[in-house]
């Protein structure tokens, strides 16, 4: 399988797009900043959305399960101490990556389409058989908790038959 070349993006583009989303819906909890430490690979929830067009790839948003719950709590205005349902965490993360991916798609040549978001709890690695090449990685921190955005060629939503 031929991996598509990297889309023409700048890390700052990805940061700005993500910051716009965070400012609109999550700023009440804290600002989004460049991270001092990368996200721990072993404790991650990943939300992904595929882009199909001249370039086919995936935009992923990764954070710890605790941060994901905080994001859902903030977006839904759920009070501290009240239960945040898993379905709402999945929904919130899916919507966040949908907005980030949609706005990154807007920076690419016209004609691309956006898939429906997928949310996968830990482990962080792409499913076996999904060939992928990471092109961009942005490590950010939201109120001190790590957030990662990755742009990579390959579509996590496709099942690739095992040899």
């Amino acid at each position: 399988m031929t991996i598509a070349p990297a889309p023409e993006l700048e890390l700052e583009d990805i940061r700005v797009v993500t910051n716009d989303v965070w400012t609109s819906f999550l700023a009440t909890y804290g600002p989004l900043e460049w991270a001092a430490e990368p996200l721990d690979e072993h404790e991650v929830v990943r939300a992904s959305v595929a882009i199909h067009g001249d370039w086919c790839g995936t935009v992923s948003l990764e954070m710890t399960p605790a941060t994901a719950e905080t994001a859902a709590r903030t977006m839904l205005h759920i009070e501290d101490g009240a239960v945040v349902e898993d379905v709402d965490v999945t929904d919130a993360l899916g919507e966040l990556v949908n907005m980030i991916g949609g706005n990154i798609k807007s920076l690419l040549p016209s004609g691309s389409t956006l898939g429906l978001p997928m949310v996968i709890p830990a482990p962080v690695l792409p499913p076996t058989g999904v060939e992928h090449t990471e092109h961009y990685r942005v490590e950010l921190a939201w109120a001190g908790t790590p957030i990662r955005i990755r742009v990579w060629s390959g579509d996590e939503s496709k099942d690739i038959p095992q040899p």
Binding site: F25, M75, S110
Partner: protein, 122 residues
């Protein structure tokens, strides 16, 4: 007035409802649907005055929903609230009969800007 909000994300539907309130558009009845197919059912049942729809949804996308409405002769004012605000998408939306496209992420100001003219005419 009655506003139909169509989005497969319950989180986003709640945010849209909250943003309408922040934009000074509270006091309206709100109906929710999870996709375009449920949206068609909701239009038949509730006869909304305004439809705010996502674009990318399972079952029936927002643009398919709009085409089905206009194809049946329904002229309910319709706007997209979507993460995909490219010029080509805006053109497709307008050609399909949508009055506006609000791009996610959005603010109360962007809602007020787009909806003031529409609500004034409803």
């Amino acid at each position: 007035m009655k506003i139909l909000i169509v989005d497969d994300s319950r989180v986003m539907r709640q945010i849209v409802i909250r943003t309408l309130r922040q934009a000074g558009m509270d006091g309206h009845d709100v109906v929710e649907a999870e996709n375009g197919r449920q949206g068609l059912d909701a239009v038949a049942e509730h006869a909304p005055d305004l439809i705010l729809s996502d674009w990318n949804m399972p079952e029936l996308t927002g643009i398919e929903f709009l085409h089905a409405l206009r194809g049946s002769g329904d002229e309910t004012p319709f706007g997209f609230v979507t993460s995909e605000g490219t010029p080509e998408m805006v053109t497709r939306a307008q050609q399909g009969g949508a009055l506006f496209v609000i791009t996610k992420p959005f603010t109360a100001e962007s809602f007020r800007e787009q909806l003031d003219a529409v609500l004034g005419a409803v």
